[in-house]
Amino acid sequence: MSVPVVATTRRAVLWVPDWPVVAAMTQAGLSAERPAAVLHGRGVVAVSAAARAAGVRRGQRRRLAQQACPDIAILPYDQARDARSFEAVAVAAEQVVSGVEISRPGLLMIPAEGAARFHGSEEALAGALVSAVADDAGCESSVGMADGFLAAILAARTSSLIPPGESADYLATMPVTVLAHAAMERAQRAQVEDLVSVLIRLGIDTLAALTHLPVGDVLARFGAVGVWAQRLARGEDVTAPVLRRSEDDIAVEYAFDEPVHRSEHLIPVVRLLAEQLDQALLAAGMRCGKVAITARTQRGDTLERVWRTDVGVRSGAFATHMADRVRWQVEGWLNGTAAGPERSALVWLGVLACDVVPLGSEHSYLWGGISGADSRAQRTVDRIQGLIGPEGVLAVREQGGRSPRERVLASPWGQELTEQRRLAHPWPGRIPDPPPATVLVAPAQAQVLDAGGAPVVIDRRLGLSAPPTWVRLEADRADQQALAAHRHPASGHVGRVTGTVWDRPRPVEAWAGPWPIAQRWWSEQSSRHAYLQVTLRDGPAVLLAFTGGCWMLDGVYD
């Protein structure tokens, strides 16, 4: 923690006691009188007033807390939820003052001089803040005012207004344990609490005693934390206030008057949305890397899909490119072909720009970034997607898995690829490299026969019934000889040609295996395969799988 010197400003602090518990209780729908605590890891992080009265303290284990207060409600820790719900309080406070700083969820820092002059007096400002927060956000808060960061926080805890210039005296009488209130993050707080315990053991009980220590000695003994603590104890500020700026997402939306069933009615709307988004991006001086297309159906479902748009690829054609993307996605939803709930009419359509970067940051155009070849390739892909639809052009990646088919992740070009299985994981027991160059889209039937012509069977202990001697694969449909042989009565049936047409049996030169892959035995997608690598005398090497009593051709090493 580096400690730059900053001028002391008069601050007002709005403090909502036990904010994590308040947010969690609102989310869980509990009433305020119920004792509750928020648990993170193994210790309680925040305690509600009723629980504190019963004897529950921060840092206690769950069992201790439940022992102290049997009907306590233990709520989960969610930093994001705390931050999100505190926005409402910040917005309420912003109705009274022009800019607030959220130090952490539960603590608002407000530069007080201008606002106090506007409202007449500091008491008026404090009263206005408390009532605004109580009315709009519905929670109790307290406001304190003083010079300096630490003094203001402590003043807020007692709801007092320290006159200007008396903050140093106010702080001098405080015990060192109050330093923990000035730490905004958990890691910082742990460091400060360590420092406080050392100070107490050394006999430095009050902030006055801390300020009397020489700065050099404090730095040498306690490090940067000590200097930070000493500065705060003197009443100085360590960071200038950083005011919150609300940033609206760049998004456009359209609510249909009547639910839309047919995609033709959407075309003008989609074009309008794309142009509006382009204008909005241009007005903000931004470019976006991803676009999230959201639609709400009549039934109340929300469908969402994120598409990549290449930054720096096109300038003027952005609106048409966007219009194409949105139109394909919506058509997919309406026809029920895109992954999602069943087809139903759409009532609302929205497009949100994500990953916005300022215009002009495509600096690497010439010197090794997106190049002319990339943009040409991207235009080609767009053209082909226009011809055969977005699902016809695929982008592929490797993902984790054991068989060659599982290790491929394919999705339409431009869509976000999310891998189902992480590539970095070890995946023991997978089919060894080199992988087959041809992997059948769906496994085809095959026959593996032993020397006598009986099918080879693999038992549960991975023992083969006989070494494989012949392999018969499915014949090519144009292969007339195989068809004729199939029609011949000697093949075992009479009448019309039904069933698979088998090619002539090929002798096996060498084989290896079986590699067992039994996955997810506990779920419905359980699969048990035993793989065999076989080289054929007058054919390529093949990868065969035995599953459910029959043989399948999985891949060809051609």
Binding site: Y365, L366, W367, G368, S371, G372, A373, S375, A377, T380, V381, R383, I384, L387, I388, G392, V393, L394, A395, V396, R397, E398, P404, V408, A410, W427, R430, P432, D433, P434, P435, P436, A437, T438, V439, L440, V457, I458, D459, R460, G463, S465, A466, P467, A510, W511, A512, P516, R528, A530, V534, T535, P540, A541, F546, G548, G549, G555, Y557, D558
Partner: protein
């Protein structure tokens, strides 16, 4: 009689004197050359002047250099019959060095095999089934991509193929066909591929030799070439992380032939 042997020393001296008079030293000349080379590289990358500024051949891996001694020339068609791995090996080096690739009409391509050979999957566009629009789609790919790999069962008539070849020559892209292509500049027919590493129930596929017959459209005798496509040292790209380690191989080898002749019915796997 031997005047062609006489080096005109006088002329060289005059040239050096001129250079000295103009104040241009050798160091400055070298710097000028470097700057020109850098500018040419940038021009090639931006796409300015694609036709005059680009190299006439795409990079080719060493272990398949026997098959295409003149390299992958831009505007040419290479037809490879009988082995998808050979197709991947021919285009792998070009993809690794930045070329964009499209695979049209190859629904059964093994993507993991392509990645192992060294192809860059971020610059690979797969179009597994263009169905009726095949000529338009392949034409668009020839326009925009550096290498177009075409599958064996696309709906392309001979007239379409001729038009595509002319287009490729004009745009400087390479067409590699995984099936027969009449009028291909280089025609490779794989006659046999010999795998090593399997035994009677032990081992795994390790190394492969491929025997191919290469014939050129421009005439000349057909050559028979043996290429090592997979195996230690030559070919196969980087050893994949999925390769078995030493102990795994040993364990598999000691399993041995695990077949027994039993006649009664057993539960299957």
């Amino acid at each position: 009689m031997f005047d062609w042997l006489e080096v005109d020393v006088g002329e060289i001296e005059a040239q050096e004197a001129d250079a000295g008079r103009a104040g241009v030293s050798r160091v400055q000349l070298a710097r000028l050359e470097k700057a020109r080379a850098a500018l040419a590289a940038v021009q090639a990358r931006v796409g300015v002047g694609r036709e005059p500024g680009q190299a006439p051949t795409l990079p080719l891996a060493d272990y398949v250099a026997d098959i295409l001694p003149t390299g992958l020339r831009r505007g040419h068609v290479v037809a490879v019959e009988g082995s998808t791995s050979l197709v991947l090996a021919l285009v792998a080096q070009a993809s690794r060095e930045g070329a964009w690739m499209a695979m049209v009409g190859m629904p059964r391509i093994g993507v993991v095999a392509a990645a192992r050979r060294g192809l860059d999957l971020t610059r690979l566009v797969l179009i597994p089934d263009p169905s009726v629009q095949a000529p338009a789609v392949v034409g668009a790919c020839v326009d925009g991509m550096d290498v177009v790999v075409v599958g064996p069962r696309l709906a392309l008539s001979p007239a379409d193929r001729r038009r595509l070849v002319a287009h490729a020559r004009e745009r400087g892209s390479v067409i590699v066909s995984a099936g027969p292509w009449e009028g291909a500049h280089v025609s490779v027919v794989v006659e046999g591929s010999y795998w090593a590493g399997l035994g009677a129930g032990e081992g795994r596929l390790r190394s492969r030799e491929v025997e191919a017959v290469v014939s050129l459209r421009s005439g000349g005798p057909a050559r028979r070439v043996r290429v090592v496509l997979d195996g230690a040292g030559a070919g196969g790209g980087e050893a994949g992380s999925g390769a078995l380690s030493g102990e795994e191989v040993h364990r598999l080898a000691t399993v041995g032939p695990s077949c027994q002749n039993r006649t009664h019915v057993r539960k299957t796997y």
